[in-house]
Symmetry: C2
Subunit: 141 residues, 2 copies
């Protein structure tokens, strides 16, 4: 069970967008440099972020990205969904192979994997970008 580098990359990149007070977009180049993330790799991640509606892009010179929503509305769950190619906690043949699963309505294995999944998602849902950005310099949002 591993967490890819993507979650960390995205988290820090989004924080940089969220922490910026100016209304101008920030470029991939700048974020990559500040956060020590390979530029081309970060580009791909932002492509996903845009498709998922977490950021907006401004084309052309002086272009870049801005958050599509206020930090407190961006949960870690949303970030994880993009960062991790697949989130598979329900690892149980009784769940994967539905026919077997249906035989046991209250299968304890299934219950365990579902509970585990819920436990993780509860944590991810209860943390947002705002937790990271306004930790020391208090501000609204």
């Amino acid at each position: 069970m591993k967490i890819s580098v993507n979650a960390d990359y995205i988290l820090r990149a989004m924080c940089e967008l969220g922490a910026d007070k100016t209304e101008t977009p920030i470029s991939i180049s700048k974020i990559a440099e500040n956060q020590h993330i390979p530029k081309k790799y970060l580009e791909k991640l932002f492509h996903k972020l845009k498709k998922a509606g977490l950021v907006k892009s401004i084309l052309g010179k002086n272009g870049g990205y801005i958050l599509a929503d206020i930090p407190k509305n961006i949960t870690m769950k949303r970030i994880f969904k993009i960062a991790e190619n697949e989130v598979r906690i329900h690892n149980c043949v009784n769940i994967k192979k539905d026919k077997i699963c249906d035989l046991f309505g209250d299968c304890t294995f299934k219950k365990f994997w579902t509970d585990f999944d819920n436990h993780i998602n509860f944590f991810l849902d209860s943390h947002t970008l705002a937790d990271f950005i306004f930790a020391d310099n208090s501000k609204n949002n």
Copy 2:
């Protein structure tokens, strides 16, 4: 973030050992057949389980495996440690690269990853093999 098939395989295999009332060992062949797990693959998993001290082996004909401890002492965390080749939740350059990390004593990123790790481990520690075995047929242990 994925959970490999191993955790499911081991969980069901160990349950079969734990549920067995006889004092005789159970062979890999039998478990593999009952649980629909590739025999050779299960063999490798049991090798790890033995090395970790979760099961004991009996060699020769009529040999097989028995639990090395009572079910309630076998936590899901112990199983996960064997099932997952690597458990990496602390995915943060501020943690991986110690020099950067030391610069921020109360880094919010680090805190998040550590909290996440603790959250998961708390869940895994609070479930044992006994939860699966004696769900319906109540019995001591």
